[in-house]
Structures are given as structure tokens and as C-alpha cells.
């Protein structure tokens, strides 16, 4: 499992773990019934406090992304994939936000930001059209 935590990030470490496991599930890198490492294993691997990993697992369990089986360990549940839409939106929102802040810092106004966004999106959709038609 590829998880990378960045303590200097504003997002708390346990939430970074939660988000990355959710993303892995949403992208299909983790499939239903796949086992997850134990709290201790993941804590040592990431070099973070075991309580932090335990907290992330608890959150994921409450949200139904993973489940514990007595004595056997922790596994990805079947319904994790349902969240992929929300997760995708969250990732996109964060990226857009960064770009918009840059724009604001460059002194752009709302109208110019909107127009630029529309133009970039339009261009990308045009570039994709032949491929979509070909299918």
C-alpha cells in the first residue's frame, strides 16, 4: 500500500491517512476484501505515532470504508467504492482552490478567473472529442 504522510502539511496526519486510503479505494488500487496492514505495522512504516494510525482506522471504520474481523485483521469493505464521486470532487476542489489563489495573487478579478477556467476547460474538451467519438 502506498501511503505518504507529510507532517508539514496543514491537514492532520490521521486525516491524510484517511484520505489516501479512501482515494486508493476510489481509484481501485485497493479492492474489497483486500487486507490492510496492522496499526503497528503501518505506524512503523510511516514513522508516525500508532495512536494516529488507530484514529485513522477508526474513522474509516465508522465511515464503512474498512472493517475489522476479530483476530484476522482489517479489510476493505465492499461499499467503499460508493464514495468515489465525493472523493474525486474533493481532490478537484483542492487543486482548483490552489490555482484560484494563485490567480488572485496575480491580481486577477473574478470575471477573468471564470473566463480563463471556461477557456481551459473548453480547450481540453475539444482535444478529447476525437477520442470520445472513436469509442
Amino acid at each position: 500500500m502506498f501511503i505518504k504522510v507529510d507532517p508539514s502539511n496543514d491537514v492532520p496526519i490521521f486525516r491524510q491517512i484517511v484520505q489516501q486510503i479512501k482515494t486508493a479505494v476510489a481509484m481501485g488500487r485497493l479492492e474489497p476484501e483486500d487486507p490492510l496492514p496492522s496499526v503497528r505495522q503501518l505506524a512503523v512504516e510511516l514513522a508516525v505515532n500508532p495512536n494516529t494510525v488507530a484514529r485513522a482506522y477508526l474513522d474509516l471504520e465508522i465511515e464503512g470504508v474498512i472493517y475489522k474481523r476479530q483476530g484476522a485483521g482489517t479489510f476493505v469493505s465492499g461499499r467503499g467504492v460508493e464514495m468515489s464521486k465525493n472523493e474525486r470532487r474533493r481532490v478537484l476542489r483542492e487543486l482548483l482552490e490552489k490555482a484560484l489563489v494563485e490567480g488572485l495573487n496575480l491580481g486577477m478579478e473574478e470575471k477573468e478567473l471564470r473566463e480563463t477556467f471556461e477557456r481551459v476547460l473548453e480547450k481540453m474538451m475539444q482535444a478529447r472529442t476525437p477520442e470520445t467519438v472513436g469509442r
Binding site: P7, D10, P12, A43, A47, V48, N49, R55, L104, G107
Partner: protein, 309 residues
């Protein structure tokens, strides 16, 4: 300011009351009340010269306080130093090793002082750190010296591990060895760790509690989660006129952008939002804030407060 969880006294691994130390007229530590609950990892964060090492030396009984008292694992430090030493490990940059001994001899030598010595653990760490048993201590690299110190400290299964700037001056590989092993230790039931560092990243990775120190005072003690949920950054567009936000509860710092204002807020809550609304702030966005930024704002706010006295 601190939102410490209430614990019974016997639940503390370390407890200091009004602990102070003067060197001549210079007050290195100013009446510090520090409590470290058993089974937790406590990171003491501060810039160089903040008083972290002085506190740790007093806790370890290496330096006599000029005021206050220390209790370790429920015992008064002054009365029970020998008993305490059996149960507490200490790792620092300046820990004493005998230069003329080999690595293996250093292990045998230290083993003799501890009834609780764990041979399997020592052998395991020796292997994991790839330490050369026949090499003399004086021939070891800085990183391997540090690894040997860690091995000697962990192999007698101490209840409390105190580390003074354990990773300072070490390369990233040795540093990672240190952090991984500390994590692995605390995964074991009941162990308590106190470590000092000026590296925010390290504290954030491994600590349950963080204590922020500056100029001999403990400015803030809390769990990392509590700190992060109590400190927030609030950002909003200014639309031509900047709202006057000085005096709004908890505002520590105001940064002005071209079209936005960013506030650093301590003790963030509904009241903050209500007062900001009154001042004409529209659509504020509440953002998380890194421990590094919290550390910097806490230290700056305190220094400004002192300067204004």
C-alpha cells in the same frame, strides 16, 4: 490556555511543579509545571536555547533545580534517584560512552547495571542497526554512536524513555531509525516517551502531546489533535474595504493580501465567527493550520506580549 485532559496523579510518568533554574542572573527555566501522562509520547518543542535541555537535565537528576520539584513514576526525584534510574532511559547527544570499549563490550558493560536487560532485544537492535560488534566506540561514525546509545537505552525495557534532541545533527537515515524505533517502543503497552526537538515535523509525527517552550516558559500544552482543532486560519475576500478585526476573540495574527485577509485564530469557535460577522466579514473560509505555523505564531505572540509590558 492549555486544555489538558485531567489525570490522576499516579497516572503521570513525569510531574514537575514550579520547576525553575537560574544560572547567575539568567533564568533558563521559569517555574514550569509539566505533566506527562503515562503511556503517552510528549514532544517538547522549542527553538535552541528555549530551556528544553535544562528541563530534561533536571528531570534526569543531572542538574539541581533552583526552585520547584520533580516526581518521576510517582516518586520524588531527590529521594529515589537510584530506583528511578533503573526504570528510566536517557538518550542525548552528549551521552557518555567509553571510547576504548568495543560495541560488544559497551553492551556487556551496560547490561551489568540492569536486572531487566533483554538480550534478545539488544541482539535484534544490533542487527537492525548493522552495528559492528568488534569496532571500538571511538571509531564509530556519529550515526552509529547515536544508534548504540539508543540500543543501550532501549534494551533494558525502561518504563520511561527521555530523549534530548535525539536526532539533532543526524543524517536522514539514522533519524528515521530513531523515529521508527521510538514508534515501535510506544506501540508496546504502557511506555512513556518524553523527547525534545526543534524540528516540528518530528514532534508532529510521533507525539500525542506537545509542549511549546520559549525563553524558559511553557507557553502551551495540549494534544496535537486539540491544538489543531483549536487553532484555525480564517480567510475571506475583502472586496475593497478591509474589516477591522483587531480585538476579535482569539485573533493572534492578521495578514493582508491584495484581495483577501488571513487571520490566525486561537480557540476558534462559534463566538469567533459571530464577532467576525459583526465586523462585516462575509463568507469566511476556515482552514486547518500546520503545527509549524501554530508554533511560530504562539512564540511570536508571546514575545510581542512581553515586549509590550
Amino acid at each position: 490556555m492549555s486544555s489538558n485532559v485531567e489525570y490522576m496523579p499516579e497516572e503521570y510518568a513525569i510531574e514537575t511543579r514550579n520547576l525553575g533554574r537560574k544560572f547567575g542572573k539568567f533564568e533558563a527555566v521559569k517555574g514550569v509545571d509539566l505533566t506527562v501522562p503515562k503511556g503517552t509520547v510528549f514532544g517538547l518543542l522549542g527553538v535552541n536555547g528555549a530551556g528544553k535541555s535544562t528541563i530534561i537535565k533536571m528531570i534526569m537528576g543531572h542538574l539541581r533545580p533552583t526552585s520547584g520539584e520533580v516526581r518521576i513514576l510517582g516518586r520524588a526525584l531527590g529521594e529515589d534517584l537510584v530506583e528511578i534510574r533503573k526504570r528510566v532511559a536517557y538518550v542525548s547527544e552528549n551521552r557518555y560512552l567509553y571510547e576504548w570499549m568495543t560495541v560488544a563490550e559497551s553492551i556487556t558493560f551496560t547490561r551489568a547495571f540492569h536486572a531487566t536487560w533483554d538480550d534478545r532485544k539488544a541482539a535484534d537492535l544490533l542487527k537492525r542497526f548493522s552495528l559492528p560488534p568488534e569496532k571500538k566506540v571511538r571509531q564509530l561514525s556519529r550515526g552509529n554512536r547515536a544508534r548504540l546509545c539508543l540500543l543501550l537505552a532501549l534494551s533494558f525495557n525502561p518504563e520511561l524513555i527521555v530523549l534530548d534532541e535525539p536526532t539533532s545533527g543526524l543524517d536522514p537515515i539514522v533519524r528515521r531509525d530513531f523515529i521508527e524505533n521510538i514508534v515501535s517502543e510506544i506501540a508496546e503497552e504502557g511506555k512513556t516517551v518524553l523527547f525534545s526537538s526543534h524540528i516540528v515535523e518530528e514532534v508532529e509525527r510521533v507525539a500525542d502531546y506537545v509542549g511549546i517552550m520559549d525563553e524558559g516558559e511553557l507557553l502551551l500544552v495540549s494534544t496535537i489533535d486539540e491544538i489543531k482543532s483549536s487553532y484555525k486560519r480564517v480567510r475571506y475576500a475583502t472586496n475593497g474595504t478591509r474589516p477591522e478585526v483587531t480585538g476579535v476573540v482569539g485573533v493572534m495574527m492578521v495578514e493582508n493580501g491584495r484581495h483577501e485577509q488571513v487571520l490566525t485564530v486561537q480557540g476558534f469557535g462559534d463566538e469567533t465567527m459571530r464577532q467576525l460577522g459583526e465586523r462585516g466579514v462575509k463568507n469566511p473560509e476556515v482552514l486547518p493550520i500546520s503545527l509549524e505555523d501554530i508554533f511560530v505564531s504562539a512564540v511570536r505572540a508571546e514575545r510581542e506580549r512581553r515586549a509590550s509590558l
